[in-house]
């Protein structure tokens, strides 16, 4: 059993479950397929020697964010009656533009040559926490630190928007 076969199998499964997220009618079912997709993407990361990213992907996306999704779904009232209706024109134009995008992307990726990825993937220690941490605190220390501004702004913003105000309740 060659490694190529595993890669194709994983890729096919990932695409299949990602498609099921959009196709399935019931929202809870599509969320569950989304969790499956995240696990499969993690498996793809492991095939690329990115072990740390794979674990983080499972913890953050499959763990935290998906639980949030399920809670939101439970709070929403999802009945069939109040679904927004889309007109035929919108559907047809979405279909045409979506297929055109797919066509272009397929044509591009069919004979694209990806640079500089092959030689890095072959090193088995490439994606370990040690190497990643070294890179983050030497070469990429500035984006790493600057992203803290992003997080604190998002945090302050979330508290600002979500906190109850006394005068609004009155």
């Amino acid at each position: 059993m060659s490694i190529d076969l595993i890669i194709y199998l994983l890729g096919g499964l990932t695409i299949g479950s990602a498609l099921m997220v959009i196709i399935s009618k019931h929202p809870v079912r599509s969320v569950l397929y989304l969790i499956l997709t995240f696990f499969l993407i993690s498996a793809n990361y492991i095939m690329l020697n990115a072990q740390f990213v794979a674990i983080v992907n499972i913890i953050v996306y499959a763990g935290a964010i998906m639980v949030l999704f399920l809670f939101v779904l439970m709070l929403l009232n999802l009945s069939k009656e109040n679904e927004p209706k889309t007109s035929l024109l919108v559907k047809v134009s979405a279909l045409i533009s979506g297929s055109l995008l797919l066509l272009v992307l397929l044509a591009v990726f069919k004979d694209a040559s990806f640079l500089s990825i092959e030689n890095e993937v072959s090193n088995p220690n490439h994606g370990l926490v040690q190497n990643l941490g070294k890179l983050l605190f030497t070469k990429y220390v500035l984006p790493f630190e600057v992203s803290s501004i992003l997080f604190i702004a998002a945090m302050v913003g979330a508290v600002l928007l979500a906190k109850r105000d006394k005068n609004i309740i009155e």
Binding site: V108, L115, V156
Partner: protein
């Protein structure tokens, strides 16, 4: 770099000072911090301080000019908004800090040299804006604006990221310098690179609100609190334009081939759609939104011209545009009308002569009337492109003509007679901002000459 650190600490400090429940202290901290940032930036220009060894940020001439402009406008908007911010004592610090964080993102966009800093800067710029759009929690329109901006904005970010991934796949580097070398060394252009560039371009056109991606603009602009609308129209647009101009010029060696055709089409469409929709608006902020779409159309002409002066012309354009927006937003804060109808400004120039005068100046500057700064912005942009794209400039001139109609309509409303009109009170802060923007509008043309 130092400027970003100082700004960030200013934001944090004003968050903590807000705990004293004294809004005036927060205002003073923020103003001092922003001023110190501007001073440090100008010192940095003469003696570069290089104590952080990382090549993700590089300060050049345009970083300073753009940075100083963005800092000035943020300063003015914090001043304008203070009357609103200080009403909610518990949140004054949050509002001001979030605006300052957004300015940090703008400074990253003025100086990045690799795609990491570019992307993080763009996100730091946008995420505080999603929050600020919804900061008026009592108003449903404000929440709607925040939701719309957040959903469409995050979708555009996704498209942009996908484009960056494609570009990385084609070039194998994130550094702008190495990217441009890799493109120059390429024998025949790769399709992957072009798809990536188109997706990045789509993300850019969304962020600035150019026509196929402009639908969020009017709703978000009219729903958000006035100060936030002004901040979005000036600082955010300036930063997004500068960031993408840097990316396209330094990273992609300028746009050519069919990108030029795309940009010309987008520019023409943007001008017409913005202008023709603005003709029928009855609310001031929606009018500002559509007119800002039109101005994006004019500014897109800058991206078409491959010229070492392009950043200066773009800067002039947004410098001129910003003062008008500052003045108009101040006037709308003075009138303080929930519905924001233009009819509410009836006889405004008669009851409040000074504020009305500045408002008329601002509208004339937006229309591009000669002695005012708006004329210089338009003149530089149009004259730089007239040899290469004469038809485009003629279309732009026609559009400037159409625009005069709706600006004049507002001016006529403001000077018309109405016996029942009451005098609005102008707070001292608003009077200061109005005088600064009046000086900017009248004397700004000389500043632009000095810079150019």
């Amino acid at each position: 770099m130092e400027a970003i650190i100082i700004l960030f600490s200013t934001g944090i400090v004003s968050l903590f000072i807000a705990m004293t429940r004294k809004p005036i202290l927060v205002l003073l901290t923020a103003l001092i911090g922003v001023t110190v940032t501007a001073i440090v930036m100008s010192i940095n220009w003469y003696t570069p301080m290089q104590w952080v060894k990382y090549d993700g940020i590089e300060t050049d001439y345009f970083t300073i000019i753009y940075g100083a402009t963005a800092t000035l406008f943020s300063f003015l908007f914090i001043l304008i908004g203070y009357s609103k911010f200080s009403k909610e004592v518990y949140h004054t610090g949050d509002y001001i800090a979030i605006l300052i964080f957004s300015l940090c993102g703008a400074l990253c966009l003025f100086s990045f040299t690799d795609l990491f800093m570019f992307f993080i800067g763009l996100e730091i710029l946008s995420i505080p804006m999603y929050v600020m759009a919804g900061s008026n929690k009592k108003n449903l329109l404000s929440s709607e604006a925040a939701m719309k901006y957040f959903f469409t904005g995050s979708f555009a970010t996704g498209v942009l990221l996908f484009g960056i991934a494609c570009v990385y796949g084609a070039l194998g580097t994130f550094q702008l310098k190495e990217m441009s070398e890799a493109i120059a060394a390429m024998k025949n252009s790769s399709a992957l690179l072009q798809v990536g560039m188109i997706l990045i371009l789509a993300g850019f056109l969304f962020k600035v609100g150019a026509v196929p991606f402009h639908f969020w603009g009017p709703d978000v602009y009219s729903g958000s609190p006035n100060v936030v609308t002004g901040f979005m129209a000036t600082v955010v647009k300036l930063a997004a334009f500068c960031g993408f101009l840097r990316l396209f010029q330094l990273g992609f060696n300028g746009l050519d081939g069919f990108f030029v055709e795309i940009l010309i089409a987008v520019s023409v469409l943007t001008m017409f759609v913005g202008n023709l929709s603005a003709l029928r608006q009855t609310k001031l902020k929606r009018l500002i939104a559509y007119s800002s779409i039109t101005h994006v159309g004019y500014a897109l002409i800058c991206l078409l011209v491959k010229n070492e002066h392009t950043p200066a012309y773009l800067w002039t354009y947004f410098f001129a545009y910003g003062f008008s927006i500052v003045a108009l937003i101040t006037v709308s804060m003075i009138v303080n009308d929930e519905n924001d109808d233009i009819d509410r400004y009836k006889a405004f120039a008669r009851t409040n002569p000074f504020a009305g005068f500045v408002m008329i100046l601002a509208l004339l500057s937006l229309a591009g009337v000669p002695p005012l700064v708006g004329f210089f912005g338009k003149y530089l942009v149009f004259s730089s492109a007239i040899e290469q794209y004469p038809v485009l400039i003629i279309i732009a001139l026609i559009n400037s003509g159409i625009a005069i109609y709706y600006y004049l309509k507002v001016i006529l409303t403001a000077i018309s007679k109405d016996d029942n009109a009451e005098k609005s009170t102008v707070s001292p802060l608003h009077a200061i901002v109005l005088s600064i923007s009046m000086f900017g509008l009248i004397l700004g043309g000389f500043v632009t000459f000095w810079v150019n």
